[in-house]
């Protein structure tokens, strides 16, 4: 999953970026509203974490302009817990909001829920045949036996599972699993897919030549 974090405080931005990366999100960052908006329009992020008070263009303006073009899920961070700020954010098209200071785990849970709901997935547990993918614990299991996956492998399975039944192109996968700081080799995706197939079963992920990958 690829996220955009727009926050003007360098320390907080750093903390959020590192924290989210450790949770296997691909994270891009922007320190002002204008840059954030530009990036959000250019790249299809799975979710955006947007601070309200930003230089250049404040969070609400960014949201207003983004919503004119895209429906990317947005979680607003507000420093004032005044009701008007929240109403303003939600009215401008925010999907959720968090008031600073917040718990990092709550941010994670809300992001998971945002992404899941955006894919029309009501529950954190996705059944894939005899397999269960648990979004909250970030595990794949058969019955009670967990299948050990590396974070990247899990992220790939999660993305395909959330787009279950549709073919996801390699480019889209790259876009959503790696952020701008990743220098990934183009065949790395194939390595991950083949490793997952070995660990789960050979036909878990099907390959459509020239199109991409798919979980049926």
């Amino acid at each position: 999953m690829r996220l955009l974090v727009v926050e003007d405080d360098p320390l907080l931005l750093h903390s959020l970026r590192e924290g989210l990366r450790e949770e296997n999100y691909a994270v891009d960052t922007a320190t002002d509203g204008a840059t954030g908006l530009e990036m959000a329009l250019e790249i299809d992020f799975d979710a955006i974490v947007l601070d309200g008070m930003l230089p250049e263009l404040d969070g609400w303006d960014v949201l207003g302009r983004l919503r004119a073009a895209k429906a990317t899920p947005v979680l607003m961070l507000t420093a004032r817990d005044g009701v008007p700020d929240r109403i303003r954010g939600l009215d401008a098209g925010a999907d959720d909001y968090l008031t600073k200071p917040f718990d990092f785990d709550e941010l994670l849970a809300r992001l998971r829920a945002l992404i899941r709901r955006n894919r029309g997935q009501p529950s954190n547990r996705i059944l894939l045949g005899d397999l269960v993918l648990d979004l909250s614990t970030r595990t794949l299991g058969r019955g009670t036996d967990p299948i050990p996956l590396t974070p990247r492998e899990y992220a790939l399975v999660e993305y395909l599972a959330l787009h279950r039944g549709s073919v996801v192109s390699r480019i889209v996968l790259y876009e959503h699993l790696f952020d701008e700081s990743d220098d990934t080799l183009s065949n790395l995706l194939d390595v991950h897919v083949s490793n997952i197939r070995k660990k789960v079963r050979p036909d878990f992920i099907t390959t459509r030549r020239g199109h991409g990958y798919c979980i049926e």
Binding site: D32, P55, F104
Partner: protein, 482 residues
């Protein structure tokens, strides 16, 4: 509900009633007294007249015969005795002593009755006189009598019944009482109405004030076009409410801003610690996490310090210790202290320090100078020359901090002393500047009796100038601190 007699309307009414009552009673009493006295005088005149009339009748023949000399006692005695014995009375006395007309009696000096009119009340006695008094008017019951002594011997009493007059006076009294009572009621009703009318605007004012007190700070008292005392009061109250609302609004904004400023470093600390505790890490990672937390905590400390200074400055008290000190000396010390920061910024602090004796709190003045210097050293690009100047001009002590930077855009100038106002939020956010530095400078300048102004233009850089009243202790402060 208040006790009714504590309300202004009731008290006005009470006073009004008292004054009206005493006025009406006084007027009625006066009228009655005058009427009563006038009646009395009429009666008395009629008694004198009757006496004269009787004598004229008695001596009718004698008068024709003689001159106007008063009759002798002997003549009088004989005339009276003749009249007493005449039966019937001579024609000229016929009808004179009918019932209801004045009566009269004459007595000799030895007490013998000389003449008594037929209509005299029973028990009429010879009047007694004080030794040197020959004439006396006496009221007994409803009878009014004139007692008169003629010459050495003969005493007479003329009297009449005052019953009719007393009854008339009684009626007059009743009329006065009823009329006065009516008048009082009318005055009270009028007063009540008038007081209510006069107090109506006060009611409106108190209702509005109540609504404002209940939290509706935008409410104002409606003011009529006129300029009555109450309108003036309403205007003053409206001004006060306006200032109160402003103060509350400022306080609210300040609190919101302060909490907003504290939230970000708190978020950093929470986020970093939670991230750090999620898994085992390398020592270098932990060090980085801790240093981030430290930075955030230091930011909070700086903010809390600033807030405390502002809160203290907001309290108008006289605990502030003002001692004579020299601003030049303070500026010199602070410039020394800020030298490392200036070096880090690739510049020097130029000093043009002339003695500047003022009365102030040295600690606060330290903060003021430090904030101005730190402002000049952190906002313009590195390498920008910074000058600090002190001196006396026009009997005012001046402190100037100038930087030759690009200047402050004019649209920001009016707001730079506002709390939490930042020209470029992005650039200053992480650097520990809370947006309170200049607000603190202004607050300290205000509390020290000084003024602050800023000049900024693209070519000239930015100049902050603080002016203070000169120390009353002359140059002594300079000697003391140096």
């Amino acid at each position: 509900m208040k006790l009714p007699f504590h309300s202004i309307r009731w008290r006005l009414q009470l006073w009004h009633a008292l004054i009206s009552l005493s006025l009406i009673v006084a007027v009625c009493l006066l009228a009655y007294r005058m009427a009563a006295e006038e009646r009395q005088r009429q009666i008395d005149r009629s008694l004198f007249g009757f006496e004269r009339f009787f004598f004229r009748q008695l001596f009718l023949e004698a008068a024709e015969r003689k001159d106007d000399s008063p009759p002798k006692s002997a003549e009088l005695r004989s005339a009276l005795l003749a009249l007493r014995d005449a039966d019937p009375l001579p024609a000229r006395f016929r009808g004179v002593f009918d019932a209801g007309e004045p009566y009269l009696g004459f007595w000799d000096s030895d007490g013998t009755l000389l003449f008594l009119s037929p209509n005299a009340p029973p028990g009429l006695r010879k009047p007694t006189f004080a030794p040197d008094d020959d004439l006396e008017l006496v009221t007994s019951g409803h009878l009014r009598e004139l007692h008169h002594r003629h010459g050495p011997g003969i005493a007479l009493a003329v009297g009449r019944d005052m019953g009719d007059e007393l009854a008339a006076l009684g009626r007059f009294r009743l009329f006065l009482a009823l009329g006065g009572g009516g008048l009082l009621l009318a005055a009270l009703a009028g007063g009540w109405w008038l007081a209510g009318r006069a107090l109506k605007p006060i009611d409106a004012i108190s209702h509005t004030a109540n609504r404002i007190a209940a939290g509706n700070l935008d409410e104002r008292i409606a003011i009529a076009e006129s300029d009555s005392e109450l309108d003036q009061l309403a205007r003053i109250l409206n001004d006060t409410f306006g200032r109160l609302a402003d103060a509350v609004e400022r306080q609210k904004r300040f609190t919101a801003d302060a909490s907003h400023e504290l939230r970000t470093p708190l978020t950093i600390i929470l986020s970093e610690t939670q991230r750090g505790l999620k898994r085992e890490r390398e020592p270098a990672d932990y060090q980085q996490l801790l240093s981030h937390c430290q930075t955030a905590a230091q930011r909070m400390r700086g903010l809390v310090d600033s807030l405390l200074i502002l809160a203290r400055e907001d309290q108008p008290d006289d605990r502030c210790t003002r001692v004579p000190c020299d601003l030049a000396e303070i500026a010199n010390r602070l410039a020394d202290r800020m030298e490392p920061l200036a070096a880090g910024h690739g510049t020097l602090i130029h000093r043009k320090l002339q003695p500047a004796p003022i009365d102030g709190d040295p600690e606060l003045l330290d903060t003021l100078v430090q904030n101005l210097l730190s402002n000049a050293l952190s906002h313009p690009p590195p390498g920008t020359a910074v000058t600090i100047r002190t001196g006396v001009r026009d009997d005012r002590v001046e402190l100037e901090v100038h930087d030759a930077g690009p200047g402050i855009p004019p649209e920001h100038l009016p707001k730079i002393f506002d709390r939490f106002y930042r020209i470029d939020r992005a650039r200053t956010q992480g650097s520990g500047h809370s947006g309170l530095g200049l607000a603190i400078v202004r607050s300290i300048a205000d509390s020290s009796g000084g003024t602050i102004e800023v000049e900024s233009s693209p070519g000239q850089g930015t100049r902050f100038r603080v002016r203070f009243p000169r120390s009353r202790n002359g140059e002594r402060g300079q000697n003391r601190t140096l």
